[in-house]
Symmetry: C2
Subunit: 434 residues, 2 copies
């Protein structure tokens, strides 16, 4: 085999032990927070029948952005690109038996065939959090609380990011009040979704094209310029659709989530969102971008032939979150799971030193113990243990075996002391708490 | 969408929360045991360049048993079928920087395109445990210890399964002593590998065909009939190749692993094994089959263009292990992660009851709390909480809110008592220890 075969598939990552330790820590934070809110974990196959991605207008995405192929039985299968269709399929499949509200989360591995750029790989992991069966804004509020708690769990300050919220129902009301017909509303939403990627003049020209009237455009632009949801009172005649959004923002602020802001131009790409949507933006100048988002999608479960189920959820990717942690210097120092490495100038069996027995005694007390077994020079054994991140090294030479007092070297401080095995067990367990 | 779309892809599994809870428990047992031996977790992409599976004689497997397709850039990619080529690629990629012995484990999701049968799905998960850099049988012994500890951790008795061991070096020595040439040895190994699937007469005829001599066949059959590794002393003239195997079995028995047996006909399918191999068999009459195995494969890392690295490892699948647990009635009762469900006749905001605030107080003390929020009838809320596996229900009605004494219903015993929130926190935490 040639050298290039040492690399993983392009756009995907190998997780060497130090990378995996970071991932485990991140997933652990996610799991702790969402379980605190009563969410239970589920999973599903990484391959799905392609059908479930073929919702209205999705053919293009399937054709261009997915790993789709025929299996040996001629069925079209797709490596999942997002979890929302899968979880909707699963809920629809047990629509009758499930208890509602159903709070579900998952951390699936997802693949998208796309150009690589910062925060985007072809392969990533995504925390998916969804609550099924709640119609009130308590569901949306809970999502904001969870987001807030996740950031708080990694010691991020609320000034580091903001949570932008909007309502699709509200946007539709505004567009209808401006006199747009249904198809025009859909086009306007798509245009507004791309607004941040074009100049103001360009946007204005395209909007005029679409509405065919400066007066109509003006109303829409006024709405898009609103900085606070309460401003809407000034120029909207029908206010009902704004009240849920107002209440959500007010209640989030009451809970201390001060970084929630009204963003009238926030649409979210996916067609399935039906009402309130939100997106979390990194405010660091080095990484000033949308990180992730979610919203209400009451119609998707119903598309699987079941009764519709009101649903609110969000998905948060590991790569973007890792970027956030890095630019804000929030990546913690992580410990290796190896607590003790037993080293010896002798291999087991020689001279009556039983390294297996020493390790077994520690393991029986739940200490994580590696044994070197190579019998090579001490300094090489110590160096290897250090490289592997072992917290302690236990030296078992002839003298130690005779006296049953083993040298324990603390790899953090470099200190060496002789102790009995039972004392060593206590020392190692105490070090866990630090 | 039609009804059939509610099913996952054929041969793959949806993990509803109760299934996922079982998987998490199983993976937790695996992780605890292997980390106790100093193994650290790694991972890699589920898609690999097809090349890494194209080792000698593997084209047929790739063609018939894998999910292989071309990506949009014309590269052939394969959904990984086993982790061994991947981990060998990763070790080869950092051959110089790594500390040895390197103890690595992973629990990858693997896919094989095969006929479905008991214990075999197209999609499964597999614990992979490998130690790199050890030449002595301490490595093999450690694998047997880990296997023994995994079974012990799920309360399996040693009488429920056995660990069969053999040595490829030993088999080759026997075949050479019988006068077989190298190609004939390889053919004989493949024949012996299939021995259990044919009649004795059929095997004898095929062996005679291969050796071309009754005398040669007799020596091989005598070896295959050996019940104990010490019997080999009687008819083998060169014993060195048996001594490592003898020592391994003796030392395993000293450690109490009494269910290790010598199995001269054990070959293991994969070509990459170079010396000692082992396989774990379920002894339950309902599930009397090989569950998993491993062995030494000193040559594989070297195939990636790096220096060879001595390696011993095994892989253990989730489906076969689950079957074992089921037939031996070792599946434990698992708790839901939901500890308390707050229910109320009122939705938040009404009548001054702040369900969010109650939940928050409990969550701040690390209690996992779901809130019903539907305001529907009490019995429906209690039923749903029970179905979701919630350990307790906290009832927050008007009276409770006024008195700040909330009714806590224990869903296991049915008992109801009024307590302050701080008392409720203590009760829930105490219940964790039971």
């Amino acid at each position: 085999m040639s050298k290039q075969n040492l690399q993983p598939y392009k756009g995907a990552r190998d997780f060497y032990p130090e990378d995996k330790a970071f991932q485990k820590w991140m997933f652990g934070v996610w799991r702790d927070v969402v379980e605190r809110y009563g969410y239970v974990e589920y999973d599903a196959p990484i391959l799905e029948p392609t059908d479930i991605y073929l919702m209205k207008g999705s053919q293009e995405i399937v054709d261009e952005q997915t790993y789709t192929f025929e299996d040996r039985g001629g069925r079209s299968v797709t490596i999942r690109t997002e979890m929302t269709p899968t979880v909707s399929r699963m809920i629809a499949g047990r629509r009758q038996e499930l208890a509602y509200p159903a709070r579900w989360y998952s951390i699936p591995n997802l693949w998208r065939y796309e150009r690589m750029q910062r925060g985007r790989l072809r392969e990533f992991w995504q925390l998916n959090v969804d609550v099924f069966g709640l119609v009130g804004i308590e569901a949306e509020l809970e999502m904001l609380q969870i987001v807030d708690d996740i950031f708080s769990a990694v010691k991020a300050k609320r000034s580091m990011y903001e949570i932008r919220v909007n309502s699709r129902v509200l946007v539709n009301t505004v567009l209808q009040q401006a006199g747009l017909r249904d198809e025009e509303c859909a086009s306007a939403i798509r245009l507004i979704d791309k607004m941040q990627k074009m100049s103001a003049a360009d946007f204005a020209a395209k909007l005029d094209d679409l509405t065919g009237s400066k007066e109509k455009s003006k109303q829409i632009v006024e709405f898009l310029a609103a900085k606070d949801v309460t401003e809407l009172d000034l120029f909207l005649t029908k206010l009902e659709s704004a009240s849920a959004l107002k209440e959500l923002i007010a209640r989030a602020k009451q809970l201390g989530i001060r970084n929630v802001v009204f963003a009238p131009d926030l649409m979210r790409g996916f067609d399935y969102y039906t009402d309130i949507v939100f997106e979390v933006f990194d405010k660091n100048p080095e990484n000033n971008r949308s990180m992730f988002g979610g919203g209400r999608y009451d119609g998707l479960v119903g598309q699987f032939g079941a009764e519709p189920v009101p649903t609110v959820g969000f998905g948060m990717g590991d790569v973007t979150f890792q970027n956030f942690l890095e630019v804000h210097k929030l990546v913690p120092e992580l410990k290796s799971s190896v607590e003790v490495t037993v080293i010896s100038p002798l291999t087991t069996g020689q001279e009556g030193i039983d390294l297996v027995a020493i390790a077994r005694e520690l393991r029986e007390e739940d200490v994580n113990v590696a044994v070197d077994y190579t019998g090579r020079k001490f300094d090489k054994q110590i160096k290897a243990a250090d490289k592997a991140g072992s917290r302690y090294v236990l030296i078992a030479g002839e003298d130690e075996a005779k006296s049953e007092q083993y040298t324990l070297k603390d790899m953090k401080t470099g200190k060496e002391e002789k102790h009995s095995l039972s004392r060593i067990i206590s020392i190692v367990k105490d070090a866990r708490k630090k």
